[in-house]
């Protein structure tokens, strides 16, 4: 197991470096550069000055070399959008997103797996309705679901309509707690729906397996059949994608963050891309790649642990 982990961690690190470097490269090669923010009619002098400030007048290889070198020393360059060092900026945004991601993952897991068990093991109106709701949740773009939730929050006044904090909050923690439900719900809905669909299908399949029928013949109660016999095997379908889901939540959803004005990694990555902010792009992509690969690795480990049939050393 240790060797397996070490090898995979090494590959994760390689992946992060590769992805961040390709993002740096792609931003160099993509049409336009960070001087776009100066507008279409900026003077040549302004443009040249800005380009040299961000090493765009030097060859790609040289810029990459300089960036990689300072990255070793944990200096990830400066952001042209915010004019502050990339490291702390990305770290703070990632932390904000992590708060949402963990909450959303919890909600999605409980709701998705729970509802999936209900729909996978029963017939009737309720499972049918839940199925409709899941399909509805995955059929709508997250921009729209976030806006609908914001609409509800604005019209009912139950929750703050955006941001991560209020200005004159007396208690920092209760204030944060009040701002969480809106973005967490917006993030969790499609993930919960995905989990529900996967869990439902997997459970239904397991209920048809011989070992379940054998247990039923032995007189095991329905409840035990579902929860103790069929479900533990069916959860593998979720485990296979769980790590990926966690990773992609942690790398941030641009749509949710922009609508709820949450200062997170998704929004930062998108803004960086749009503005061709080269060092910020590399930083965001690196963090995104790191959490995604970590998520996938975690998923694989969970899979190996959950199913004793799987030989884990590869």
């Amino acid at each position: 197991m240790v060797r397996f982990l070490a090898r995979r961690l090494f590959f994760c690190a390689v992946l992060v470096v590769m992805t961040a470097s390709s993002a740096l490269l792609l931003t160099r090669v993509a049409p336009g550069d960070l001087t776009l923010s100066l507008g279409p009619f900026a003077t040549a002098r302004e443009i040249a000055a800005e380009r040299s400030r961000f090493a765009l007048d030097r060859p790609i290889a040289v810029q990459w070399g300089e960036w990689a070198g300072s990255a070793m020393r944990f200096d990830f360059g400066e952001s042209s959008l915010y004019r502050v060092p990339v490291g702390p900026l990305v770290f703070q945004a990632a932390a904000h997103t992590a708060v949402l991601a963990i909450g959303a993952l919890l909600v999605a897991t409980v709701a998705g797996v729970g509802l999936g068990i209900v729909t996978g093991s029963q017939r009737g109106a309720l499972p049918g309705l839940i199925r409709m709701a899941s399909i509805g949740a995955i059929s709508l773009p997250s921009l729209l679901t976030s806006l609908v939730l914001l609409f509800i929050a604005a019209r009912t006044g139950w929750f703050p309509t955006g941001g991560i904090s209020s200005v004159d909050a007396s208690n920092h923690w209760t204030d944060l707690a009040g701002h969480l439900p809106l973005p967490i719900l917006a993030l969790a809905l499609p993930v919960a729906a995905t989990f529900e669909r996967l869990q439902s299908a997997a459970l239904a399949e397991q209920l048809h397996q011989p070992f379940v029928m054998a247990a039923a013949a032995r007189g095991v109660s329905k409840r035990r059949l579902v929860l103790r016999h069929a479900w533990p095997v069916s959860v593998k379908a979720i485990t296979a994608v769980y790590g990926l889901a966690a990773g992609s939540l942690l790398s941030g959803s641009f749509a949710v963050e922009i609508v709820t004005a949450w200062p997170g990694l998704g929004r930062l990555t998108y803004d960086a891309l749009y503005a061709r902010d080269i060092y910020l792009v590399a930083g965001c992509v690196a963090v995104g790649a790191a959490v995604l690969s970590a998520g996938m690795l975690l998923g694989d480990v969970l899979l190996a642990l959950s199913d004793p049939r799987v030989p884990d050393v590869r």
Partner: protein
Amino acid sequence: MRWGGLTLLVLLAVSVMAAPLLAPNAPEQRFGDLLYAPPTPVHLWNDGITAPFIYPLRLVSRIERRFEEDRQHPAPLVWFSNGRLVSGGEAPLLLLGADSYGRDMLARVLYGGRISLTLALVSAGCAVLAGALLGGIAGYAGGWLDGVISRSTEFLLVLPAMYVVLMLRAVLPLALSGGTVFALLTAIFATLGWPIVARGTRAIVIGERQREYVEAARAVGVSPARLLLRHLLPAASGYLATQLTLLLPAFILAEATLSYIGFGFPPETATWGTMLKDAANVLLVADVPWLLAPAVAIFLSVLAVNLLVQATGRPPVQLEG
């Protein structure tokens, strides 16, 4: 339920394929004074007229988006003319209202379905097929082959797709034909979709591979290909079916996202994804809810496929009662 799904899917497919017949108006046709017009009410009888008819909608206030029926000029519906099943004759028949340009929403949903539905079904199908095969091979073969395939899935999943697509758009010529865009989008979606399918399939195949019947079959000399196709992959069929229903809406909506960064069909072309993106103004939609018609279309398509390919929650007979 399976039949329900099949029926629904066939209905949808036939509707979008028969769009030129079913749509009362052309999808690009603009009615300048009917921006955001509500669905035209169809009346059944009035004194003297026994066939279905409509009143033309007249604009009362453009800025308030208010319309009223012109009761002076009832227009009977015209059937089977101009290659259309039904149309309004003198007055435009807008059964699902009009969008921000005054174009018929029903026509745009029907014509848009041809692109969105076909694109999504084809790409999802390719992604599931490729993912199933590669995931199955990785799970069964193990060793370096598994390593290569698994690491590739990780690389593709971690890669920032937007950046690559943006750069791709830049190197392509400015004007792209609809066919080229379709082919490119299918390729991009299939490439982005297969890793997720492969990872899950691999996990399931690894589990199945340990079972006794597999050992037995190998001992007898069954070829790996047959084993894979006949026994191991079918074990993942539930997962594959679910992934198909998950990828379908994802691709319909992703088409709109890519269109946002310039990698899409020409602007007048209706697609469900772009129509929904245009409707992404909740305040507007609260007053003009028919803009969400494509969301209903996407929902119905996904529901149909889901019902069709997925086993229902119906447990075996012995467990009942």
